[in-house]
Structures are given as structure tokens and as C-alpha cells.
Symmetry: C2
Subunit: 480 residues, 2 copies
Amino acid sequence: MAENQEIKESLQESLQQVITLLDKQHLIEDLVHKQEQDAPKQELLETLVHKQNLAVLQSKLDLLHPADVAYILEALPLEQRLDVWELVKAERDGEILLEVSDAVRQTLIADMDSDELLAAAEQLDTDELADLAPDLPKDVLQDLLESLDTQNRERLQSALAYPDDAVGALMDFDIVTIREDISLEVALRYLRRIGTLPDHTDKLFVVDRHDILRGVLPLKRLVVKDLDLGVSEVMTADPVVFNPEDLADDASKAFERYDLVTAPVVDANNKLVGRLTVDAVMDFIREEAESDMLSMAGLREEEDLFSSVWKSVQNRWAWLAVNLVTALIASRVIGMFEGSIEKVVALAALMPIVAGIGGNSGNQTTTMIVRGLALGQIASHNMQSLLKKELGVSLLNGLIWGGVLGFIAFMLYHNTTLSVLMTAAMTLNLLLAAVMGVMIPLVMTKFGRDPAVGSSVLITAVTDSGGFFIFLGLATVFLT
Amino acid sequence: MAENQEIKESLQESLQQVITLLDKQHLIEDLVHKQEQDAPKQELLETLVHKQNLAVLQSKLDLLHPADVAYILEALPLEQRLDVWELVKAERDGEILLEVSDAVRQTLIADMDSDELLAAAEQLDTDELADLAPDLPKDVLQDLLESLDTQNRERLQSALAYPDDAVGALMDFDIVTIREDISLEVALRYLRRIGTLPDHTDKLFVVDRHDILRGVLPLKRLVVKDLDLGVSEVMTADPVVFNPEDLADDASKAFERYDLVTAPVVDANNKLVGRLTVDAVMDFIREEAESDMLSMAGLREEEDLFSSVWKSVQNRWAWLAVNLVTALIASRVIGMFEGSIEKVVALAALMPIVAGIGGNSGNQTTTMIVRGLALGQIASHNMQSLLKKELGVSLLNGLIWGGVLGFIAFMLYHNTTLSVLMTAAMTLNLLLAAVMGVMIPLVMTKFGRDPAVGSSVLITAVTDSGGFFIFLGLATVFLT
């Protein structure tokens, strides 16, 4: 009984949190409101607060869109997340698992047994299964493959064979095809026989008897053109197409440039193998942007907001270790000049300024270059003018801010040589920051690495050690 | 003549660069290829290289999609950019100006006179004009407003009245409406009379005689359902709708969650005023992601890759100045302990390690929090468990890495007290980094500021000054 009491309390806490989330999230409120036109939403929320029982929470969850349930699960700490997960109807498990982030998905899957997982997976389309498969235990995946028919098993295996960043991993198989030698009237009659079209269908794919793509027929043309016209007269014969091997990043740029909603995916022989939709592309863009932001700080995306302390430490330790090494190098650079610091202790107080501002300026340069690389705007032909510009900016900043700092140093220590050294060291370190800020991302790209990952840590390492060396070196020569 | 020669040389350089860009960008090549099926693309490029004259470049540019011309303009240094811009057909100026980034647009507009600008603007729809208007000179904007009819002038003025981050600023007016009391057959006959539908039309908006929204009719339902059915029987009566005042960020999340292609925008009385399309939303997401990335490094988006040195200095000086102040404060913290450093000079070499690793760890925490805030996953109810988690991560990291550093310090300086101090200072500074890493973005949000802007500079400021103070303070008490 005591245990039951505990479960009840834990559930009440979950409920409270779900209500807070619902309250915060206007979109969800509106949705709930829309689906229960009779009960004003304030009243609905109050009912929830007062009754606070399992059945009510469950029925509310059942009304929500899978993406909204996913949002709630992501915003809950682990324990409450699993409580809510228990309440979600089994037949919706699959769609919800698709919507949550990778890290949260792992926590949910860890809580399910093989039968539940298999049941969830069996509700999904092949392309959706491909998204879920990497997170499934090996034996469940094996059972799943055996349960599929030949066509779907082949599709799933080929989708799993493409890397995450290829069009083949993003495409789906919800394609509706027609022949080019029929009239629009016949095409429309055919569609009425099918009775329903997949989500996002904005065009039909026109193929010959061997599934070779001949063109695409936008629905918005189908509904306005004369019914007697032939499909081949109305279709676009040279649509934008992708290959499964194309980079998803290039495809997403094409979707943005040419404002696409869906596009056919064809193999090397121009045979239609699938389609790419704007929602898959949009998810990809959002994930890329997030992972860029996280990786610049040395984080991977496998950590969710409520990952365990131990998991978070594992996620973050790699870059902290790199940082430890770079900090040790910087420390040894200072160690080389301990004699000078003992003589002029003001050097110890001033040296972090030179290093810090160099790091900030270098990060600005690196960020501009990483962005230019991501947009495909940087090539060998314009590297020289880029470097010239960044050196110009650094020279100007070095003289201005170095001058200001030299002045402040003079006010503090009344030593003219020290203050001139300060200005010179600042300018030199900013020039170093400019050169390395341009070079580091370019070299990383050259060696096939993502320039966003850790370039910030590397540039800071250079400007720290470089700044200490330049400033203390100059001081040792001219001051001591 | 000498001047002509110079122009010619400059143009040849531009041409070379455009060719390099075309060559690099497979998508564009494919496009050119598609539109000139006869000439293999390699041959096409060679023709360009050999002839190298104005007319060829011009005709090639005319074949490109406006978005591709925009891409080329963005990747060219200013001088060559303006050369190419001169060659673009005047009647395409408007569409191309819409596609380029804000910074590049300003350079192009600065090169055009009032008549050219007015001519370019007159090719655009009202919603497109609204995007361009803020960059136009005041007198051109005035002339433009006078040239519009009443409906379009009102639309433009109302679109300009909404802030950049509101749905009202993103929506367009390409809406096709039908009545609910007609049959699908009548609806289709009406569409055939119109003859063409706006881009991205995936649904028709169903309104009553007062333009009050009654529902939406997806085209993919229109083409599969029985023609005798009434619009009201087939339409979705409770679609996702937006108000012009809604935040574009919320709308973009709704587009992602509910996989929308277009959605109606209605006023407070549910009267249809416009529509939001997925391409506008996708552009918004991309711009937000870029501006987040730039602003974390203290950059604004008004700088393009080839902005002048002076413009870049202006763009970057604000955060460098903030950094200067924070570096000075850290320097004064060190200054307080100059006496201790004179006695134990090893402190000068070790102190940047404590500060640096604190900064790195604090940035990891801040990045997680900024992301959680952006996804709407952080609220008062889960702040406590977040802080607990981050403190746990820091404690563990501090003991592990602080221990390693303490050991290294002992190897270097053979001083047990110093190495214990090192471990203690590291742990304390990482705990400080965790608290401030959580608090800084939350406080910035509380005061209505974007937590991405400069939170990195602020957390580094705290961990620098804090790290120096903790380490040198402990050393002064226990070591000197």
C-alpha cells in the first residue's frame, strides 16, 4: 500500500508538471481547446488540477498530437517522463518515439521490453522504421526484419545502409505514380479510385512502365488545367531530382532555393526509388543547426536536458580534456618566463588581458568563416581577400584597443615601456588570431572534418599560448 | 580607353570567379545542364572560359534561378559583385534582391539609383515588398507607396507595422478562397476558370461572405473525393491557424510539429487576412539559427563575408569592448594578489588553467540551457533539477580533472599544499561555472533579452575573475 501511495504521489507530481507545460505552451492549449470546443480551456485545466487522477491525464494525453506528447516527455525529468510514458496508449508508442530527440528516445526504449518495442515498430512505415532502427536492441531489430515482407525488408536494409547525412536516409516511399500517355481526366479518375493520398503530396510522379522518371505533375496544375489535356503536356519534364547518395545538406539548400515541397529521388538510371519531403528537410535543418551550436561548445547531441550526471560527464569530458592539455601548454609557456614575472609582477596581472581579447577576436573570425563554409561561399579564389580583410580588422582593433589598454596600463603602473609593450603585444596577438581564425576551420575542412566541432577550443588555445608568449617574450627582451 | 581596359579586366576576373563558383556548386551546374540539354556542361564551362566576354556571362546569368544568382553575388568580393550585378537583367533585380542576405542587399541597393530601385520594387508582390522596404531609401519608399492601389498600400503598411519576428511580417497574400456551400465539382470548375494557383498552394481556404474562415480544403482531398460531396463535408473545420501578432518562432515550431505546408492567418474576429507558407518559415528558421550562432560570438548579421574592414570593425567592436572591461576586472583581481605571486611565482603559471577550464565548462552548461530555452523545455518547475544536475556534473569533473591537475602541479613544483589548493580551486570554480552557467541565460530571459547574445562572453568573465580570485585567495591564506 505504501508503494501505491508513492506511485500516486509521483503521478500527481507528473500531472502537475504536465499541466504547467500545457499552460505554458499556447499551441497545445489551442489544440486541446479546438478538439473540445465545448469545455473552455481554463475550465479544462482546472478540472485536471482538481481531479488529478490517472484516467483524466491519460484521456488528455490521448487527445494530443504525437509531437505534443513528445514535447511533454522531453521537458520532464526522467522519473516523471517514464510515468507519463506508461500512460500513453500502446498503439501510439511508435509515432511518439519518432518525434522525440535521440537522447530521450533512448531513455524511453530502455524502459520497454522486446514485445512492446516490436509492437511499436510494427505500426510504422519503412522509412520511419529506418529512423528508429539504430536505437533498437539487436534482437528486436532481427525479429522486426523477419516480420517484414520482401519489398519492405529490402527498403529498410537499403535505408539503413545510407549514412545519416545522405538523402537516402531521409527519403520516404509514399510515392504516387501515373503514366504520361493518359489524359488529366483519366488521371483524376485513377486518384478517386485510390481514395487517399500520402501527406505532403503536392505532385504526382510520372513514370514509364520501367519506373523511369519522366516528369512530375503538380496537383495545383491538375486541378486548373483542361481535363482533355494529356499528362505529358501538363507535367514538368525537368524537375529538380536527387540521388540517394546526395548529401542531405545540399538537398536542404536546394529545397530552400527552389522552394520545394516534395521532390523525386532517383537512382543512377533515373529510376524512381523514393521521395524527399519538406518536413524531413526541415527536421534535418533544425537538427544540424542545433548540433552545430552544441558542437562549437564541445557537446554532442546525445545529452538531453535531464540526462544523468554520469552520462553528461561522459558527453563533456572529451573537450574538457582537450582544454586541459591546451591550458597546460599555455601554463608551461608562462612557466618559461617565471624569472621575468618575479622581476615585474605586473606582467602576471596584464598577461590574461592580451590572451583573452585575442581569443574573443579569433572566435569572431572563426565564426564568420565557419558560416561562410556552411553556406558554400568560401573557395580558394576568395581566400586571399578574406585573409586580407581579417588582418585589416585585427590591425585596426589592435591599434585602437591595444592603445586604450596601453594607456590604462600606464595609469596603473606608470611604466612607459610596459604600456608600449602592451599595445604591441595586443596588436600582434590579434593578427595571430586573424590568421589562425581563418586557417583553423579551413584546415579542418581540408582534412574532411566538420569545422564547427571544437574550432572554438582550438582558436582559444592558440591565442592563449600565443598571447602569453608574445607578451612575456617582448617583456623579457625589452623590460628585464 | 585605359578605363575600359580596366573594366574589361575586372569583368574577366568576375567571370573566372563565377565559373569557379558554378563549377563548385553541383546544383547550379545541374540546373544549367537541365536548361540546355544539348550542350554538355563541361563544354558549356569551357565555352565560358574561352570566350570570356560580357554577352556570354550575361546570357548564362539570365538562365539561372534568382536564388542561384543571389548565391553567386554573395560569394563575390564587393567589386566583382557589382560588376555581375550590372549584367543582371533589370526586370530580375527585384526577385534577386529578395534572395540575397541583408548585408549584401545593402551593397547592391547602394549601387542603384532611385529609378532603378523603383522599377525593381514594382515587379514584386506586396508581401515581398514588405521584406525589401526597410532597406530602401525613404524617398523611394514614399514614391513606391504612392504608386500602389489602396488595397496593396494598406497591406504593405500593415505588414511593415509588424516586427520582424511576428507572423504578420512573414505572411503573404496569395490566398485562394471558396465557399462552403458548393460541391467539389463546382469548386473544381471555379479553379479551372482561374487557370493558375499561387506557389505552394496545398489547400484552399473556405470562407463565408464576410471572409470569416470556416475551414480549409486540402487539394489532395479535392482530387480524391467524390465530386458530388459538398465542400463543407470534405473540408477540415478546425485547421491550425495563426494570428498576425503570433511570434514567428512559435509558428515555425507549429509548422515542424504538425508538418504544415501552408496555414491561414486570421485576425481577432477569425477573418482571413493572409497565409503563411513553409518556404517563408524555412527561411526564418535558417536565419534564426545563423543569427544565434553569430550572436553567441558577439557578431551581428549585418556583416557579410566581404564587408569592408571599417564596417566589420563597427560590427565587432561592441563585444570586444565588453570583453576589454571584463578582462580588466580579471586583471585587477590578479593585481590584488601581486604580493602572493611575487612570493610564489608558480601561481602566475597555474592560475590561467583554473580560469580557462572553468570557462569551458561554464560554456557547455550555458549552451545546454540556451538550447533548452529555445525549445521551450525550461520552466520554473524543472529549474531545480537542472541546477542539481549541473552541480553534480561540475563536482565530478572538478574532482577528476582537478585531481589530475593537482598531480601535474605536484610533479612540476613539488609542493603538496599548492597541488591540493589547485584541486580545490578547480572544483570550486567549476561549481561557480555551473551556477552561473544556469543563471546567466535565465536572468537574461527574465529581463526580456535573447539569452544567446553574449552569454558566452559573460560566463567567461565570471569564471575568469572568479577563478583567479578563488585560486589566488586560497593561495594567499594557506600558502604565503
